[in-house]
């Protein structure tokens, strides 16, 4: 599932976003898992929004398929959830993917930290805010707050990863927690 998140983040980067906000909620009381990605990219027209879940629709010129959102939507549908997309042609898109937390076919979260680290590393011009409402605690990390003037890219990435992994684990994050099948095979 963390790979679907990476795919959504790439969409934001591709839309020219400068600020991306990711919210991950594990809500045991309501049996809900929700991932929301909001960005300030170029947005989509309503005609485009209607087609993004079609695997044969892409905004890219040189390929014939666009599988990012359709695959995320399929994973959500398999686990009793759905995808909602709100976008404005003048800018800004919000994609929310929900799953039933306890659904046997719900994929495990996987390494969300690896996803966010690789995204932040590959997009040094994008500021990311990450919020996690875990089983134990709430955790928030803002790249603007930990970036310091004149520090190298690698030093920043290392610092980001350390804070992220620390925060996730104290909020009760478990990458392998997922549906029955995945729990048994340990695949993520």
């Amino acid at each position: 599932m963390s790979l679907h998140l990476l795919d959504l983040l790439q969409n934001s980067a591709h839309a020219g976003a400068r600020n991306v906000h990711v919210i991950l909620i594990e809500d045991e009381a309501n049996d809900l898992l929700e991932i929301t990605v909001s960005d300030d990219g170029k947005g989509m027209s309503s005609a485009e929004q209607a087609r993004v879940l079609d695997p044969f629709y892409t905004s890219s010129g040189h390929k014939k398929v666009g599988l990012g959102l359709p695959l995320a939507a399929q994973a959500a549908a398999m686990a009793g959830g759905s995808v909602s997309i709100e976008s404005n042609e003048s800018g800004g898109t919000r994609v929310a993917v929900s799953y039933r937390l306890s659904h046997p076919d719900r994929q495990p979260l996987g390494d969300v930290a690896a996803t966010l680290v690789s995204f932040v590393a590959g997009n040094p011009l994008i500021d990311l805010v990450f919020e996690y409402q875990g089983p134990k605690d709430v955790f928030r990390l803002d790249t603007r707050q930990i970036r310091t003037e004149g520090e190298g890219q690698l030093a920043f990435i290392a610092k980001f990863e350390e804070k992220l992994r620390g925060g996730l684990s104290s909020a009760g994050y478990r990458p392998d927690r997922g549906g029955l099948f995945h729990e048994v095979t340990g695949r993520s």
């Binding site: 790979l3 990476l6 795919d7 790439q10 980067a13 591709h14 400068r18 890219s60 040189h62 390929k63 666009g66 599988l67 990012g68 695959l71 690896a114 996803t115 680290v117 690789s118 590393a121 590959g122 997009n123 040094p124 011009l125 190298g152 890219q153 690698l154 030093a155 990435i157 290392a158």
Partner: protein, 123 residues
């Protein structure tokens, strides 16, 4: 109408963007992070490359990413731009190959021929 601060910020961002794209003095690594790249394991490759750069203390290398370039069967694809050299495209770069590319190509300036899928000379 945008405020003066907005414009000032926009200018700074754009300048930063240009610096990033034209920083020809230092090596640059570009990793394919489209849906196909992600599915093929580009995330792990990128983390391995970052880690190896840290181990080798190559702090001057810039890492960026790109989308699908239409060669999905060869993903994860990694581009290496060394200053003054043609752009080299490596295919099927798993984390272990990623580490070896850092050591051989970036640190020791020896491209690994058998994994190269294209060399693009823009000069």
């Amino acid at each position: 109408m945008k405020s003066l601060e907005d414009l000032e910020r926009l200018k700074e961002e754009t300048l930063q963007d240009i610096r990033l794209r034209t920083s020809s003095g230092s090596p640059r690594i570009v990793i394919g992070m489209g849906t196909c790249g992600i599915a093929a394991g580009a995330r792990e490759t990128m983390l391995a490359i970052i880690d190896e750069l840290k181990v080798r203390r190559k702090f001057d290398v810039t890492i960026t990413e790109t989308g699908c370039i239409g060669l999905c069967a060869k993903e994860p694809i990694v581009e290496v731009h060394m200053p003054g050299q043609p752009k080299v495209l490596y295919g099927n770069v798993d984390p272990s190959r990623g580490r070896q590319i850092v050591v051989s190509h970036i640190v020791n300036h020896k491209p690994i021929d058998q994994w190269i899928i294209n060399v693009e000379d823009n000069s």
